[in-house]
Symmetry: C2
Subunit: 413 residues, 2 copies
């Protein structure tokens, strides 16, 4: 079944690659309208998932992520409208040159082809991913989590109906209707048909994909982000930035997890930062020097430096100099987002040059690492890989290139 679907999606991808921008946008806008027209059906399916979730004892946070109400359905439709409004990258030329023998070479942006997306939890990913893939001329084979299966099936059907109504194949977007592990394993071996796998979910899912996929993947892995407060930093600015990066939305990959503070500023900066965070309900775990600067700080263990809390917890370490901060980051960072708070030009530039992360900040919150915030439009995720796409991924990152060469009989000597 997985192979038949992968093959059908691959066949559809050949049609989609030739579809005009007008046709692709028409699918997106129609799917948006159909979501609202069929919201009773969607909410009914979602109610089945919620009931099952209740029976399975899902946490309140999980139940909330699962929920589709009028506002969230409208949100998905708006997302599609926004993607439709983005520039279509397909068909643009990246470079063009002529060889001495007269051959004219153009590097053209083309779709990737058929893309497999494996995700967990939130059903809106079904629509977001489908919209972004189709905008860039790709077909998508989706595999959502078991907790949202009823919702996902209806959403994928609405999207397929929209494709059909606009004259594109239904298989432009298809979904695996079962949620067992065997289906995922089979999907990961479909390298004959799928050109890319995007896993979105927890560490277990990412590891399964990395270890078993014979298809190139773009990972959206953990975000263990650091902020380094340099000596001579503006303490008020440091308090604001750390507060925002930790408290504004702690459960996401661009929230800060570890704070590094230069020892020359620790006795001034840390009491202010810790007091502000504790007021916001953040539990602090510090190194011995950190614990001397303020009350109520638990002891940080080795494991803390390697933990993505996704919660109102922050580990804090005092460092003797910038080298120590850079070493700590090189060792523990997952490469999503790192920031320095400093007033010093040379150290700011050094931090930007030496920290090897998808996004590196001077004097700003790590929370800006996001396709929408960057002005790139909706994102399919934040790549923690260094190949093809790094950081926020939107429509541009869902494309490939090919060389088109126009000649008049040239042969190689």
């Amino acid at each position: 079944m997985v192979e038949a679907k992968a093959r059908a999606v691959w066949e559809a991808s050949r049609r989609l690659a030739q579809a005009s921008t007008t046709a692709k946008n028409a699918v997106l806008l129609r799917a948006g309208r159909m979501l609202e027209e069929r919201k009773a059906e969607i909410k009914e399916a979602n109610a089945r998932d919620l009931e099952q979730g209740q029976r399975d004892g899902l946490s309140k946070a999980m139940m909330d992520r699962l929920l589709l109400d009028d506002k969230r359905i409208r949100g998905m439709a708006q997302g599609l409208e926004e993607v439709a409004a983005l520039r279509d990258p397909i068909g643009s030329g990246r470079a063009m040159w002529r060889l001495p023998n007269g051959l004219e070479i153009t590097k053209v942006v083309v779709p990737i082809g058929a893309i497999g997306i494996i995700y967990e939890s939130r059903p809106n990913v079904t629509i977001d991913a489908a919209g972004l893939c189709v905008k860039a001329g790709n077909a998508a084979l989706l595999r959502g989590g078991s907790e949202a299966i009823s919702s996902n099936l209806v959403l994928a059907e609405v999207f397929a109906d929209a494709c059909e109504a606009e004259g594109l194949p239904r298989s432009s977007v298809d979904i695996i209707p079962v949620t067992d592990r065997a289906a995922v394993m089979a999907m990961l071996k479909m390298d004959r048909y799928l050109s890319l796998i995007v896993p979105r979910g927890g560490a277990g899912l990412i590891r399964t994909v990395v270890e078993n996929s014979t298809i190139p993947t773009l990972k959206h892995d953990r975000g263990l982000c650091h902020i380094y407060v340099d000596e001579g930093a503006d303490v008020g600015m440091a308090v604001n930035i750390v507060h925002n990066a930790k408290v504004q939305r702690p459960g996401v990959c661009n929230a800060v997890e570890t704070l590094l503070v230069h020892e020359a500023i620790a006795t001034v900066a840390l009491p202010a930062i810790v007091k502000d965070l504790q007021k916001a309900g953040v539990a602090i775990r510090g190194c011995p020097k950190t614990r001397e600067t303020a009350p109520g700080i638990a002891e940080a263990t080795e494991e803390d430096w390697d933990t993505e809390y996704l919660d109102l917890i922050l580990s804090v370490k005092v460092v003797a100099n910038m080298e120590q901060a850079l070493e700590h980051i090189a060792r523990y960072s997952t490469g999503v987002a790192e920031a320095i708070v400093t007033q010093d030009y040379a150290r700011a530039e050094r931090f930007l040059a030496e920290v090897d992360s998808a996004t590196v900040y001077v004097n700003a919150s790590t929370r800006f690492t996001d396709g929408g915030q960057f002005g790139l439009g909706a994102e399919i995720g934040i790549s923690t890989d260094k190949l093809h796409a790094r950081g926020p991924m939107s429509v541009e990152e869902l494309t490939s290139t090919k060389y088109v060469i126009r000649g008049c009989g040239q042969v190689r000597e």
Copy 2:
């Protein structure tokens, strides 16, 4: 041992990422000089490989590929000089923009980091790969084939000496000194240190890497290339192009393996093409219609359409129309290079648009698919993947990007 080496190469990659263009070029030029200075030592090691090859009964072609003589050593040094002369992509900006809140975002080109290269046969790959990696600020962990192990070890040592002499870490380029399969398997799991694996070799090696690597890979897979001779094509041009693509160097991935001919021109074009190829010693295997057009054509089986001969053999099929040609290519092509010979504007454009290969030609030989021919400089290979790099890969393709964001205290609302 593999882990220790991977870690050391990763450490070295952090230094190389900060190295200036001047320093990197100095390494390349010095390594080139040292190759010539130490050619006696290199030829001695190579003689050991050749002796072993003799004992193992390697084919004449294999023995020739293994040989390092004065001319080939000079060739490696020249290759390094050419790479030194290329533009350094590191540090250039791909894009820059300012957000409404004043944040300034720059997308900067950076090295990938530590790259694993697994290759077979020709020892010159040791130097070519090391040079290209270092030029782009990457460190390289090499693993060559057993037949060239003595040569590879000396070449890698020369390169490491050049790094050291220019103040860069010896581990900027290191080599796995054993050639058993266990070492390859261990290397494929070093995702903590290596950011990319480039396999160069036969189908078995590629499959091993694809099935076992937890590190992103860029494959250099089979090249099953097609030429389609359209109705109304210039027959003389078709004869020349097919001859060049098949005969000039049959053992490479951009040589043509299957010829497709429109039935309206088959009785005119095929006798001329077949006669020319037979004169050059090419064995033709054709479909029934092909065999009616000229004498001495063997019958093509289903397997022939799926075979990369890498030899003076060509399979030929007569197609009823362009759709059939496009279907055949979509089914059997490995996506390296495809060409159409035509006089018709609309069909030329359709072929360029619909054929999903790294390089697609109108009226030219597929043999131009090569970094050097394209004017890109030396190549590390021809990627058959659609992510990150597709087609000839040179220094530009050995880079990643990161976002650098300069702020003055911005936090997310």
